[in-house]
């Protein structure tokens, strides 16, 4: 399976990564090299085989849904590029 520039542009959009239109051609080539490589998986007979969800047999551990931590607003915001009045600040999202 190979992809074209439109698909590459769509994938970049989905991944929220800006790719300039002049860079799409090179991206398509790299994509197709990698997709060609992973295309080998089509040789394998996977009929009736379950997709792996956990590599170890153990069940994921559950815990009670209790509050065990909190009151860390300063810590939580410490690394924010921009915060204001105890909130993360972002460009306006509503008109």
């Amino acid at each position: 399976m190979s992809i074209d520039e439109n698909t590459a542009a769509k994938v970049a959009k989905l991944a929220r990564i800006k790719v300039e239109s002049q860079d799409l051609k090179a991206l398509v080539k790299e994509f197709n090299d990698i997709l060609g490589f992973i295309g080998q998986l089509n040789e394998v007979d996977v009929e009736g085989i379950e997709p792996m969800t956990s590599v170890t047999p153990q069940q994921l551990i559950r815990r009670r849904d209790n509050i065990t931590d909190g009151d860390k607003q300063t810590s939580v915001l410490k690394n924010a590029p921009l915060s204001r009045e105890g909130f993360y600040a972002v460009p306006k999202v509503v008109e």
């Binding site: 399976m1 992809i3 698909t7 590459a8 994938v11 970049a12 989905l14 991944a15 929220r16 990564i17 800006k18 790719v19 991206l27 790299e30 994509f31 090299d33 990698i34 997709l35 490589f37 992973i38 295309g39 080998q40 998986l41 089509n42 040789e43 394998v44 996977v46 085989i49 379950e50 997709p51 792996m52 969800t53 956990s54 590599v55 170890t56 153990q58 994921l60 551990i61 815990r63 860390k72 810590s75 939580v76 410490k78 690394n79 924010a80 590029p81 921009l82 993360y88 972002v90 460009p91 306006k92 999202v93």
Partner: protein
């Protein structure tokens, strides 16, 4: 005393306990070695003040009590581990200036054991790479050198490998998603352990591919690896995939007695065009284990060939989800915006300038294989193949094989920049012998076992049964004793 930094962990432990040396002397020796080794690009954030403070505390503790084995031992920590108040960038521009407000469980476990942190170590960006060339800090450089070329220390834990091989620290933490501990260990002539999935907590280790990532030690000897793994490992309620299984005393299991152990030699690892030196290293290693009393059995792992393609679907898929968190809102870098830019422009510009090209490539591949219409064809198919790869190992172990011996890498260290014109797949082939172990969740260890014709180190890999790191390390220990690899890079930096 000169060159305390060249001690192994076990030697230093004994000298610390007998009060022959202090942690402060040992730590200062490492700090001087680090300052003289900027040319290696191994340490990217140095923490000398913290190290000296921790060394003094360790010396007090050593006086006061029967302290843990690692008390007072200076270590380097891979930049992927979140360390409280100390830069933790995963080698990425997008985490510029990020100083976590918390400590990863593995590094906390080490702190609790009294270790000294010398600083953070270079790595491929988000652990994606096999040469340490994708790091925002620039290259880490292999202390081994045979001509004017600078060689890669491997990746992604390239800084950890270079630092241990050059005696800048006594041991280092690494992480391994497809070979990122074992391949750099092989390239630099040191020991690297990737434990069973679930042995070490992933909490606070910046995530790449969560179903494959495991932390492990990188050390000068197998014994050191056993000591360090014991301290790093353990159940952690903060990681739901962390196993509630007792951590044995791995060092006590190093008897060197491997009589009657059944060692599998997988025919599928004999690649077409494999260099004869690798072939010879492997057969020499096999012979050493036979001489030590092990029983050698030929085995088949028929889906080996499909491990790398499956990995290059599963790992990018998980990475695309994990790296979605880097949005320029909560931590790390936000791009400068133009007037009128909205939230989508903020995301797209931030991620475009914050991620390097290999990371962007993998995030986009992951996005593609998870997108509507391709999820079944790529992602689910890869997960089915992963089931088959694990089944191959399960069957071999069920037949009574105790461990498997393979080469660690298909070549010795290559020159920095030599792969830059190749397509990305060529670089991915570095992990051909290691990636199966991550897909099957098994433990694996690389042991330095010889040199190639130019004098560069080569490693052999021992793959163990799940949770049998102790037995695996004992076999690695036997191999280490027989191979007698003791070469060190001569100092040029």
């Amino acid at each position: 005393m000169a060159n305390l930094n060249s001690l192994t962990i076990s030697e230093a432990r004994d000298k610390l306990k007998s009060k022959e040396i202090s942690s402060l002397e040992l730590t200062n020796s490492c700090l001087s070695a680090i300052d003289a080794a900027n040319a290696l690009g191994a340490f990217v954030h140095k923490t000398p003040e913290l190290a000296i403070e921790q060394a003094k505390c360790a010396d007090e503790r050593l006086k006061r009590e029967n302290a843990p084995d690692l008390c007072g031992i200076p270590l380097g920590i891979k930049d992927l581990f979140c360390t409280k108040g100390v830069e933790s960038q995963a080698g990425s521009r997008i985490l510029e200036n990020f100083k976590p407000e918390y400590e990863s469980t593995v590094s906390q476990n080490l702190i609790d054991n009294g270790t000294v942190m010398l600083g953070k170590l270079n790595m491929d960006e988000f652990a994606m790479g096999s040469s340490n060339e994708t790091s925002v800090y620039g290259n880490a450089i292999n202390p081994w050198k045979i001509d004017e070329r600078e060689l890669t220390p491997g990746g992604s834990s390239g800084g950890s490998a270079a630092a241990v091989a050059a005696d800048l620290c006594l041991g280092a933490t690494g992480t391994d998603t497809g070979g990122s501990i074992r391949q750099p260990a092989a390239f630099t002539g040191i020991v690297g352990i990737k434990p069973t999935y679930g042995r070490c907590s992933r909490w606070g280790v910046i995530a790449f591919a969560s179903s494959l990532d495991q932390a492990g030690p990188m050390t000068k000897t197998v014994r050191d690896g056993a000591i360090m793994l014991g301290a790093m490992a353990g159940n952690d309620p903060k990681d739901s995939t962390s196993a509630n299984i007792e951590v044995p005393n791995f060092e006590a299991m190093l008897t060197g007695d491997i009589k009657g152990k059944r060692i599998g030699i997988p025919e599928e690892y004999r690649l077409d065009g494999m260099p004869s030196e690798i072939e010879k290293l492997w057969s020499d290693g096999t012979e050493m284990l036979r001489q030590a009393g092990a029983k050698i059995v030929n085995i088949s792992l028929p889906h080996t060939k499909y491990a790398l393609p499956a990995y290059y679907v599963i790992a990018p898929a998980e990475a695309s989800s994990n790296l979605a968190r880097y949005d320029g809102v909560r931590y790390g870098r936000r791009a400068a915006l133009s007037s009128g830019d909205g939230i989508n422009e903020m995301y797209e510009k931030t991620r475009s300038e914050g991620f390097g090209s290999e990371v962007k490539r993998r995030v986009m591949i992951g996005t593609y294989v998870l997108s509507a219409g391709f999820y079944d064809a790529y992602y689910n198919r890869a997960r089915r193949v992963r089931t088959l790869i694990k089944k191959d190992f399960d069957e071999v172990f069920a037949d009574g094989v105790d461990a498997i011996l393979t080469p660690t890498t298909p070549s010795a260290a290559f020159g920095l920049g030599e792969m830059s014109d190749a397509d990305p797949v060529q670089m991915y082939l570095n992990d051909v012998f290691t990636v199966t172990v991550n897909l099957a969740g098994l433990p694996g260890v690389s042991v330095p076992a010889g040199v190639d014709k130019s004098g560069l180190p080569l490693g052999l890999q021992v793959i163990g049964r799940p949770w049998e790191e102790g037995e695996m390390l004992n076999i690695a220990y036997s191999l280490e004793q027989s191979a007698g690899f003791s070469s060190k890079p001569s100092k040029w930096w």
